[in-house]
């Protein structure tokens, strides 16, 4: 079976999971249904032959599940009552999306074939990556050698985010002690 069939199967499974997460009453079941979406992304990375991304996605799904269970399960939560305005809004949204799909359908013919990118950079990395950097894992050779500057930015973003979280939350938890 071609990869596209599997991907469509996983994607529809993810859509069902997110709808279940939105509609279900029990908060723990909703959190687990959100987990289905992330694990679907991880599976589709495996089908697209990107094990590095699949590992990271899988681990982060577990991490997010821990945080969400810790944060939400014992708390009361506000449930929105279904109202008439909501139904009208959902109808307007669906009609708008269908209109956008109708008017942009012709662009689908212009897209390149699946697995045939327009850019030639990736081919250069595949040909010369191992001899340029000496790393057997091409993904690592790209993120830590060719694109190490991007990784530095990523580290800075993580550092700033954790600094902010530590500063704000530490003050708050100290004042409640």
């Amino acid at each position: 079976m071609p990869i596209e069939t599997w991907l469509i199967f996983i994607l529809s499974f993810m859509i069902i999971g997110s709808i279940v997460a939105l509609e279900i009453k029990d908060i723990l079941s909703a959190v687990i249904a959100v987990g289905v979406v992330g694990l679907g992304v991880s599976l589709s990375f495996i089908f697209l032959q990107a094990p590095d991304l699949a590992i990271v996605q899988f681990l982060f799904e577990i991490f997010a599940l821990i945080i969400m269970v810790r944060a939400f399960v014992k708390k009361d939560y506000h449930q929105e009552e279904p109202s008439k305005v909501n139904k009208i809004l959902i109808g307007i949204t669906i009609i708008t999306l269908l209109a956008i799909l109708y008017f942009t359908a012709s662009i689908l013919n212009l897209l390149p074939e699946f697995g045939e990118p327009l850019m030639n950079t990736a081919q250069y990395y595949l040909n010369n990556g191992a001899s340029d950097t000496g790393a057997a894992n091409l993904v690592t050779s790209i993120i830590l050698d060719y694109r190490a500057y991007d990784t530095l930015g990523e580290v800075t973003v993580l550092f700033t985010a954790i600094l902010g979280a530590l500063t704000v939350l530490r003050i708050k938890s100290k004042s409640h002690r």
Binding site: I55, V56, L59, I66, R70, N137, T140, D145, L152, V155
Partner: protein, 149 residues
């Protein structure tokens, strides 16, 4: 050790056995980042999850005594600085920022690929410490009744 905090004795015993193995696996993923799938980011998350496992099983107070949280915070900042220092070293020794200035070595060997394993280790420490610290701080947050965050 206070036996009342945290989860049951079954969970504690299993955690005591599995956490060292999980940390070892995380170190393997980090050190082999330039040879097999994975790398600093994935290995760091594995180590952070192992430490979180201890925190969930034994409770926050036990983890506070077991780990030196202040040291972990310093380790996190130091690793971020080391990444920058390595980049500037590439500028000083060679020509460009973050240049791969150590000898490349032989393909498929553990000690190869120049600065890539070093950067992997730095990123692994950074990710592990920061992700663990965020959940550690969040777990210590207690809200008063009726107060919203």
């Amino acid at each position: 050790m206070d036996n009342n905090s945290g989860m049951t004795i079954i969970v504690k015993t299993i955690t005591r056995i599995t956490v060292p193995i999980i940390i070892l696996y995380g170190c393997y993923i980090i050190f082999h980042g330039h040879l097999t799938p994975g790398g600093g980011f994935a290995g760091g998350v594995i180590i952070a999850l192992a430490l979180l496992n201890v925190m969930i099983a034994f409770g926050r107070e036990f983890t506070n005594n077991w780990l030196n949280i202040n040291f972990l915070e310093k380790l996190e900042s130091i690793s971020a600085t080391l990444f920058l220092v390595l980049g500037i070293l590439g500028f000083l020794i060679g020509t460009t920022f973050l240049l791969n200035f150590i000898s490349k070595g032989e393909l498929f060997r553990l000690l190869s690929a120049g600065t890539i394993p070093v950067l992997n280790i730095i990123i692994g420490i950074k990710v592990a410490m920061s992700l663990f610290l965020v959940v550690w701080v969040l777990a210590g947050l207690k809200l008063d009744e009726g107060e919203s965050l």
